[in-house]
């Protein structure tokens, strides 16, 4: 017989956001602890609101064990409806995908989340009525198509007090001014102009209100095909070469139409290829990069490696880890995208040609490549505000169809593709290869990827600027308070308190030296550079081409095959690319200049923080890079406090007593998955089966254990 500890009847109420409504709930739900196959877990209430699914731990009320890094909106046991990836029901030990109408109700519910968490709920002890309500409620609200206006975004915006402060440094690119400033910043204003042709969305609903085109493009040509076939400016390189994007014409059946389109394009190419414009290089991304379908397939397979029901599954995949990883093709796609970005950077930097990226809609892979190129070439994009402005410019205003690509409304699975995640994965490769070059950390990228599924921010919940603007007015809702004012994800204070926000900033960022700044600043900068010195110690750059002939020779003869295998697996790239890549890598890294990722096979890695964070088996207690980072933070703090002290002593040499330097040493050993792992829950995995020891151990001890965790094994098996 099973012994169940009588759950303490305690009134636990979900914490509701403004505009959040409780839809259904079920009590006496048993949540398994994910880490081990044992049936340990906790009792609580499972609720579903119009924003999230939430498990309310019976003990959660008295939980004073606050984690250091906590999301204020989405708690540890909260799953936003948009974050639910798949729901499975377990019927007699068989797993079945739950989608629409249910005839039978499962005894166990497994929820796989898009942020890679896995929740296991046992409904065996819940009243049947409640099971029906909660299961169908959860499935209905998270898995079935819904109207845009039903997104929580709108209820929240109408109910929440609007207290966004305008002090955000992110450029939103919603005004003409923003575009003009960007042109000025990149010195693109000589040859490019911001146009107002699309005011009122008269040209196209897909285009942003304001955008930038070459000076020579007339308003008529923009109007002619609703903005198709028009090169739209993304960014200008320091040497004047520009990165442009263009949405291509769809394949036309009608011959004369396509003839006309061709003539139109030829005209456009001609105008923008002659001086003062640089030579133009076209790159059709739909043919040179994997299709969205490929990306979706690869990611689906890839994430499966990390969505693990229990540790047995984990160890089962463990033996074939590398080949499984390779077979997903996800890392290969990352590599190809990075390589494409290097190609584009080479054209801009070395060949001084303009690059025109072409894609059907110019809002998917165009965004990935143009953003990556800017991250690599423009050090401003490697600051936090610069990166956020870049995302605004290329993705949010640029018209990436977030709603469709993330399938937030469950309209069509065909449109789904993790394009934005692909960008974040590529940027992560750069961040981990050159940490000092970025003002933000990988934690920043991880929480940014999580924010894709938090529907209180407008940033990732519209397909275009037009869609957002037209839905802003609130005409269909009864509110009379005028247009909604949506929150932006860049306001990190909404999700994280200042202490947690500190984890988003890279303490080792090699800030750009500013000559007008005070001495302190430069001193600080100096030791940061020192720290990175060994990285750059390689060797002084030598004149290119001096020994070039001999070098080429040997490489061809002996090493050619091997090098080839890493850099160009499929097609033979122009030799200049190879040379560009090699010569850049043979020089010391300038963290404020051009940054090229290493793309050889061994260099492309798995973003462990994002993908492994919920897997206790992959956790190192007191290890991982966080151990180094924590130490660095300690040292920096100490250095800074000493510097402050020195300054003080300098200024007031006759100060009083010596106050000891406060050593804010954090001696706690953190988890390698910090700040995500749930330390208080973590227990050391026994390296050996416990059964043998059990009969050697004190029986009293065993009894005690049974009190702590309800042992369901007898019944479940």
């Amino acid at each position: 017989e099973i012994r169940i500890k009588e759950p303490i009847e305690k009134e636990v109420n979900p914490h509701l956001l403004p505009g959040e409504l409780l839809l259904c709930e079920a009590s006496t739900v048993y949540k398994y602890m994910q880490e081990d196959g044992s049936n340990r877990g906790t009792y609580g209430k499972l609720v579903c609101t119009n924003f999230k699914i939430s498990f309310l731990d019976d003990d959660s009320a008295s939980d004073d064990n606050e984690p250091q890094f906590k999301n204020k909106i989405v708690g540890e046991n909260d799953i936003t409806l948009q974050c639910v990836d798949q729901i499975y029901g377990v019927y007699d030990e068989k797993k079945k995908l739950l989608t629409g109408q249910l005839r039978k109700y499962p005894e166990k519910l497994i929820i796989y989340c898009k942020d890679l968490r896995v929740f296991n709920f046992c409904l065996r002890y819940t009243k049947e009525e409640e099971v029906k309500r909660i299961v169908s409620g959860i499935v209905h609200h998270s898995q079935t198509p819904k109207l845009l206006k039903r997104l929580f975004l709108f209820s929240y915006a109408s109910a929440a007090p609007n207290n966004t402060d305008g002090r955000n440094q992110t450029v939103m690119f919603e005004t003409l001014e923003d575009w003009r400033d960007e042109l000025e910043r990149t010195k693109g204003n000589v040859k490019y102009k911001a146009v107002t042709t699309n005011e009122g969305y008269s040209v196209s609903e897909k285009l942003p209100l304001y955008f930038v085109v070459p000076l020579c493009i007339s308003e008529e040509s923009i109007l002619k095909y609703e903005g198709r076939g028009i090169p739209i400016w993304c960014w200008s390189c320091h040497n004047g070469a520009a990165l442009l994007k263009m949405s291509a014409f769809p394949k036309e059946q009608d011959d004369s139409t396509s003839q006309m389109q061709k003539a139109f394009l030829d005209g456009i190419y001609k105008t923008i290829s002659k001086p003062p414009y640089e030579l133009l290089k076209l790159d059709d991304l739909s043919s040179s990069l994997p299709s969205l379908q490929d990306i979706q397939t690869a990611y689906t397979r890839f994430k499966q490696l990390f969505l693990i029901d229990n540790s047995t599954d984990f160890w089962a995949t463990d033996v074939k880890w590398f080949s499984l990883l390779e077979s997903t093709n996800w890392l290969e796609i990352i590599r190809r995208v990075l390589k494409k970005a290097i190609e584009v950077a080479e054209c801009l930097e070395i060949q001084h040609t303009n690059v025109l990226l072409i894609e059907e809609s110019a809002t998917d892979l165009c965004c990935v490549i143009s953003s990556l190129v800017q991250v690599m070439m423009d050090s401003y994009s490697r600051t936090k505000s610069g990166f956020q402005s870049l995302i605004q410019k290329e993705w949010v205003i640029g018209g990436h169809r977030f709603l469709d690509r993330c399938n937030h409304l469950h309209k069509s699975e065909k449109e789904e593709a993790p394009v934005f995640l692909l960008l974040l994965n590529c940027v992560w490769q750069l961040v981990q290869q050159y940490p000092p070059a970025f003002e933000f950390t990988e934690t920043y990228l991880t929480v940014l990827s999580d924010s894709l599924y938090v529907p209180i921010f407008s940033t990732f919940f519209f397909n275009s600027q037009h869609q957002r603007d037209t839905n802003k007015s609130g005409e269909s809702l009864k509110t009379q308070s005028g247009p909604f004012r949506f929150l932006t994800v860049w306001d990190w204070a909404v999700q994280f308190d200042p202490k947690a926000q500190a984890f988003l900033n890279n303490p080792l960022y090699a800030e750009k030296p500013k000559p007008d700044k005070s001495q302190r600043k430069t001193a600080r900068f100096k030791h940061q550079r020192q720290l990175s010195l060994p990285l750059t110690q390689a060797k002084p750059s030598t004149k290119r081409g001096f020994f070039r002939e001999e070098t080429d020779h040997l490489i061809k003869n002996i090493l050619g095959k091997r090098i080839g295998k890493f850099i160009n697996s499929s097609d033979e790239p122009p030799n200049s690319l190879r040379e560009f890549y090699d010569s850049w890598h043979s020089k010391p890294v300038d963290y404020h200049g051009l940054l090229l990722p290493r793309i050889d096979g061994p260099e492309i890695k798995v973003w462990a923080q994002r993908y492994l964070r919920w897997i206790p088996e992959a956790q190192l207690h007191g290890g991982g890079t966080i151990a180094t980072a924590a130490k660095i933070l300690d040292l920096m703090e100490e250095v800074q406090s000493l510097q402050v002290k020195m300054d003080e002593e300098h200024s007031q040499a006759v100060s009083g007593d010596l106050h000891s330097v406060p050593m804010l040493r954090n001696s706690a050993r953190l988890s390698s998955l910090f700040p995500f792992a749930l330390l208080q829950r973590q227990s050391v995995k026994p390296a050996l089966p416990t059964s043998t020891w059990k009969d050697l151990e004190d029986e009293d001890d065993l009894v005690k254990r049974d009190d702590e965790f309800v042992d369901l094994s007898g019944d479940m098996l």
């Binding site: 074939k320 030598t542 992959a618 050391v684």
Partner: protein, 653 residues
Amino acid sequence: MSGAPCGRRPTFSGLPGERVLEEAAAARQRCGNGGGSVPGTLLCTNRRLAFLPGQAPGSHGFLHSEVEVALPCIHKLVAASSFSKPKVLTATSTLKFIPEELAVFCRDFRLLHFYFPENGLAPQAFRVANAIAQAREAAAWLGDTAEGHDGWPCPGETPPEEEHEEEDKEEGLSTMLLFESLQDWEKELQRLGAVGWRVSAVNERFDMAPSLPQYLWVPSGLLDHDLKRTFAHFQERRVPRLCWHHPGGGDLLRAASFHPASEPGSEDVRCLETLLLGDRGPCVLANMAELPTLADIQLAHLRLQALCTGAVAEEKWLSALEGTRWLDHVRTCLRKAVEVVSLLAGKRCSVVLQEPLDRDLNCLLASLVQLLGDPHARSLPGFQSLVQREWVAAGHPFPRRLGLLHRDTPREEAPVFLLFLDCTWQLLWQFPGDFGFTEAFLLALHDSSFSPYFSTFRFSCQRQRGHSSMSRLPSQTYRPMGSWQDPGGHRRGSHTCTFPPVWAWGQRYSRQQREQFRNPMGPPAPAESLAPGTPGDLCLWGGARLVLTLAKGSLCPHPLPWWSHPPLRPPHRVSPSESQGTQGGLLGTCHPPPGLLLPCTAGPCIRLWHRCYLRGLPQEQQRGRLAPSLAGLAEELELLQDRLHAWNMRRPH
């Protein structure tokens, strides 16, 4: 190996007995990919291949270690010319054309490129290339096949010395233990706080077990007289002896397997059981069943080498890496070590590592367990002492395993030691804050294992080492261990030709480089002593003679070979006071006890040691040998503290 004076050409000061066979002036060594090259002279001696750069920049020590290859370390020699296909050179298949370029693939994963600009030096290039190919075959070690002769003819020359280096201040050496003297064994036993154990000198003349060290840690309750009875019952007479003692009470022992032919009498059984079981509670025999065999290790290493130095054109990197199975072996070893250390830390019992000959995987496992469990082993001197004790003194046959012997000897190559270094690197990578040494140090050790200039890896056991130095020192009758570093008699007369231990880093690495060996964020105190064990607590399970085996992650009762009937079932109850012992046991605790490292052995957590294995790749060479370290920051902190201190001193109070 003295520094290069600023002459026309740097002088070459060889090793004793070393002669230059061929040389090619005005050769160039290529640095990295697409980069420049350094002009200099390529030399081939009977010992090594060396490149002396014409204009030696800065630290000569660095260049020395970078551009010389001991002949046995050459894996493959490829010559190329624009008129013919690249050709692999061996002693029998020599060059038929004038080489323009020479690529040397080394067994330590380096890849060196030399080329010869066309300036009328073609014959030199031809000669030197052929000389290398031939010398490589000829120069392989004779090694320990010949007794009392290490294969290196030693005329009465002074050993290679670095006159200007202050070797006494060599930190690693002064604080580490070489385990060549009784004091070292005593000192370490005291540090471990292993009550109930003593140092036995029963093997002082190597007559009990030739391959074991002179001194052994054995139970105090066992007299030497009784101990002598046990040797015959183990393979190679390698009896169980203590390796490490966990402060909570667990003991780690290592032994060879029971001798198949032994049939101990009742008196012998008593002695054997005192040695194996004592009164220390249950005894777990950990066999090596799931660990890779020597052949597995060798095969994996060869495959890894092929993959990383590019002899095979594999299309898919990750599956090719998996196919080598090297990381799999690394993982298996780590997992086993975690199991053993969990037993020691969580359950007070003794674990006996048992390998047929106790000279390979036992070395690896014993050292890994200590790295996981003993913070001292993670300091730089502690690690060096560990290698010295568990590998060098314990008799790991380095020359055979590293393949440094002459071709004619049966090859028993298996880089067990390199596998250990990789495991250590995984730990270092997973727990960067817990080690007193850095990746650079491990790399230096890795490379030095192929180097012929140190005594450390040139012998198979202490006896052989002692023998080789004794044969030259007839006057010294019973101080066989007296080698390069002798606490008493500093350095002995100039007649000895002993090479320094590898730990004399100053011989090959510059001060700056040695700074890089130290991890400033590592354990603060170098020799943090463990809490002494609690005596009297020893009798855990009512003194039951419980013997279990640990295999494939599970424990099961197992009789000792001489037990005629199955062992008694252990009593089920343990008195309450014991279950709340000092060390609560792993299963219940929330955090691992301080000082214990539990590495993750899952697929995603085991990585390829890039800086070591991918050194041959041109793009890796730009990355530099050394990982960035916190040294800069730590230095600045020290400076600021000093200045602040100075301020306070000057200020009137």
